[in-house]
Symmetry: C2
Subunit: 232 residues, 2 copies
C-alpha cells in the first residue's frame, strides 16, 4: 500500500472543491483520496468571526450534538466522533476567524465523489474526509474518517476463521479510521499545505451505491466498549 | 510512504523472535517494522489454559492495571491503552488456551531493536509493537502502538506556524498510533498470517537512545480531552 501526500496551494474561500482537486493531483482508477475536512470548510465558506475564548465556546456549543465543558478544550460529539470544540478551529483559519466543519459532511463528500468519477471517467474511487482526533488517555493526536464515499467503511471478518480454525465472533475492522490515521499524519498539523493524500493498493471494497458511512460506524454509548468508564 | 505486509509461516511457541523475523523478511536502513503483539506473546510462550468465560475474566483481571466490567467484553487499562480483556485473547491462540500480552512490551521491543540493528548492521531502524484497539463510540476496530523503539513516538509541532502565521499551542502528533492503525489493517484479524509490516519513507525521527515510549504517550485521566465524560 502506498500513500502519496499532495502539497497544494492554499485554497481560496468559496473556491470550487472539484476544480481545485483536479488541478492539484492526478487520480487513477482504484485510488483512495483522503481530503482534509478543512478543504470542504474553505470551499463552503464556513468561517465565522471569533475574537475571544467565550465566542469560541458559544460557536462550538451551537455546532455540537452533545457538548461537555473541559479545561484545556471542550469535548463534543459531532457526527459520530468525539472531537475537541466540535471541530471549530482557530488554526489554519484567517486571523479573527474560526473555521467550522462542512454543514453536511456525507452529502458534500458523496457529491464530490459523483462529480469526480464523472469528470475523470473512472469506475472505482474511494474518498475519505479526514480530521484530527485524540485517543483516550493518549498524548498526541491521531486521525479519523469523518465519513467515506465509494467504498465499505467496515470490513467484517465475522464468521471467518483464525489460524487455528476458530470462528471469529466480533472482528469488524474500521477501514476508514485505520487508513485516515496515516493520511492525517502525512497531512500534518501546521503549515504543511498538504490537504490531500492519495493511497493505492489499499484492498478496500469499492461500491457504486451511496450510503451513510457516519451512521454505519456510529455506536450508542451503551453498546460501546467504553461504556463502563463513560458518563453520558 | 509505503507499507509492505509480510506473510509468514505460523511461529512456534517459544521460538526466537529475532531469528524468526530475519528469516521472514528483509529490512533496510530507515525502515519501520511493525510487529504484532502476538509474535512476542508466542515467542515468550504467554499461553494459559482457559476453557470458560469466568476463567477468561479472572486472567484478564490479573493482567489489568485497572479493570472495568463490561457487557460484551471487559475494559482494561494496560500499559497506557484502554483495551478489551487486558489484551487476553482467544483468537489466534491454540484451542483451550488464551494468549496474553508479552510481560514487559517495552523491554522486549528494545531488546529486539538492539539485536536486529546489530545483526543487520543498520543505523536507523524503527520498531512498533501493534495491537488492536477500539475508538470510543465507533464500530469496527483500529490499531495502536503498544510501544515503539528506535524513533520518536511524538512529533511536536508546538511553536510552529499555521498557514496564516499563527503559532500552534497544542499540536503534538502521536506518530506511533497514527501509523500502527494502517499496519494493523494490513495485518488483519483472522487467518491472514501477516504479523509483520514494513514501512518506508515514513519521515519519522530516528533516535539512538532507548526511552520509555509507553510513559511518553500515557496521560492521566484528568489531563485527557475525555476527562469530562470519564468516571474513573
Amino acid at each position: 500500500m502506498r500513500f502519496n501526500p499532495i502539497k497544494t496551494r492554499v485554497m481560496e474561500p468559496g473556491e470550487d472543491i472539484l476544480e481545485f482537486i483536479i488541478s492539484q493531483c492526478e487520480i487513477e482508477d482504484k485510488a483512495l483520496l483522503f481530503i482534509s475536512t478543512k478543504l470542504f470548510s474553505y470551499s463552503e465558506n464556513r468561517f465565522l468571526d471569533c475574537h475571544t475564548k467565550a465566542e469560541l465556546k458559544k460557536i462550538a456549543k451551537s455546532e455540537a450534538e452533545r457538548f461537555y465543558d473541559g479545561t484545556l478544550v471542550d469535548l463534543s460529539l459531532k457526527k459520530g466522533l468525539l472531537v475537541a470544540n466540535s471541530g471549530v478551529d482557530e488554526s489554519n483559519s484567517m486571523q479573527g476567524t474560526v473555521v467550522l466543519w462542512p454543514k453536511d459532511p456525507q452529502k458534500s463528500l458523496d457529491e464530490l465523489h459523483k462529480n469526480l468519477k464523472f469528470k475523470l471517467g473512472i469506475k472505482n474511487l474511494g474518498l475519505v474526509m479526514v480530521d484530527t482526533i485524540c485517543n483516550p488517555l493518549r498524548d498526541g493526536v491521531s486521525g479519523a474518517a469523518v465519513c467515506v464515499s465509494g467504498f465499505e467503511i467496515i470490513d467484517s471478518k465475522i464468521g471467518k476463521k483464525d489460524i487455528y480454525g476458530r470462528e471469529l465472533k466480533f472482528a469488524k475492522i474500521n477501514v476508514g479510521d485505520s487508513l485516515a490515521a496515516t493520511a492525517n499524519y502525512l497531512m500534518g498539523e501546521a503549515d504543511e499545505k498538504t490537504p490531500l493524500v492519495i493511497a493505492k493498493d489499499t484492498n478496500v471494497k469499492f461500491r457504486d451505491t451511496y450510503y451513510n458511512s457516519i451512521e454505519k460506524v456510529s455506536m450508542q454509548p451503551e453498546d460501546c466498549m467504553f461504556a463502563p468508564i463513560f458518563k453520558f
